[in-house]
Symmetry: none
Subunit: 225 residues, 2 copies
DNA sequence: CATTTACAACCAGATTTTTCACTGTATGAA
DNA sequence: TTCATACAGTGAAAAATCTGGTTGTAAATG
């Protein structure tokens, strides 16, 4: 899951980020109005955690911006303002939920998952793509009845592929999704090849068709032929 | 005791909440269909007080939702509808009791405690997972017939694992659950390793299979192979 | 007060994963 | 065809993470 945290207070930012990163999510942050708008404009997130009081501009403006450029990203407002009016304003502008500071991280997480679940209500947490079955809660992958043992990156990669099946995905998009901010985009992340190769190998060895099609010079496509 | 009150009329809501809070309970409220469904989906309550006439949707739907997502939360319907049919409908759908407005708060309280007591008696306080039996009231653990002596943290850990069996649990989730607020999430709580290790050892020594599977880079999974 | 116990911290070694360098092959453009 | 580049495959170094042992400390117990 990819999360953007828009929050200026650094200590809170740290702990939230640590928490969600530990949970295995990709987290990015923005500490002020400008960089928030920038990120929101360029990338897509499963959920955006938005603090309302920001240096350089009002948080509500960011919310408006998100909703304006369509964006189906989930938005959870976290704010110290606890008046009903603030709450209603936020929700009316299209936020998915509103959480008053201070809060427990577990509650934050619960609400985020609730938002994400609501957004993409697959019903279950089992993702299925032909013979591939992924149980996202158990983090287990099956090919037919064979259980596949995948490493973290391989797993993320597979989930990403399936989520974007039949679409071309560039290497940099993959890198962005698997590594988030940490990656230096000027790098030649050739190690993606390795992960692709390993995933491919494990899938094929488990009797799965090779859905990963290389698009020379562009990237890959997880293709349902 | 944790209680959820689903009620749209604010004055009644206030008085019930005040009453139960004063009694030392944790109370949450939902005033409409949407937020009710949400809370019910996210959290667990000892007892849910459900008003049938709600803006935005029928209360019976909420009841259905509760029962659908398993949920062993107790449900007490409070409603102005006093026909026998309404009563029967509710009880048939799995509500534990039905109270007709208006009522005395003391009666409400009596019924709530009755429900909770009933739950915790017949609703087994024995958790069983294969050969592992936990008596939550006695806080004792048995492997088959062997009694296990666990420390507090080990016990909590085991219960948490069993409650989340076959799901991956991250270290930070465990930390949050076992230590709550006190934990500094920027820490690398390596001490979890120790508790995992100790629990594992005691379980295995008592002749239990090692269900605790490490998910490298993610956390652990209590797995029923 | 002495002793035991539970918990947290530390450390060394093992294990697993990730990254990186290198070689060979395939592809598309000139 | 030739050439530059992209990709696949191998293996090994580097980094991250887990395990098990041990130790210090504070709290609980007797």
């Amino acid at each position: 899951m990819k999360i953007l945290l828009i929050e200026d207070e650094s200590s809170l930012r740290e702990s939230i980020i640590t928490y969600f990163t530990d949970e295995g999510n990709i987290c990015e942050t923005a500490a002020d109005y400008k960089s928030a708008i920038e990120k929101v404009n360029i990338y897509n997130y499963d959920c955006i955690l938005l603090d309302l009081t920001l240096p350089g501009g009002d948080g509500m403006e960011i919310l408006r911006a998100i909703k304006k450029i369509n964006k189906k990203d989930g938005v959870l407002i976290i704010s110290a303002r606890h008046s009903l009016d603030d709450k209603l304003d936020g929700l009316n502008l299209g936020a998915d939920d509103y959480l008053v500071k201070p809060f427990h991280l577990s509650e934050l997480k619960a609400r985020v998952t609730a938002i994400v679940r609501r957004k993409s209500y697959n019903g279950s947490n089992i993702i299925t793509f032909n013979e591939i079955h992924i149980d996202t809660q158990a983090m287990s992958v099956k090919i037919g009845d064979n259980v596949l043992i995948l490493t973290r990156k391989e797993y993320d990669l597979l989930v990403y592929f399936i989520a974007n099946h039949n679409k071309v995905t560039t290497k940099s998009a993959i890198a962005e999704h698997l590594w988030g901010d940490e990656i230096d985009l000027s790098d030649h992340f050739d190690f993606i090849y390795t992960h692709i190769k390993n995933l491919r190998k494990k899938l094929v060895e488990a009797g799965c068709k090779d859905y990963i099609k290389s698009m020379y010079g562009v990237g890959y496509k997880f293709e349902n032929v």
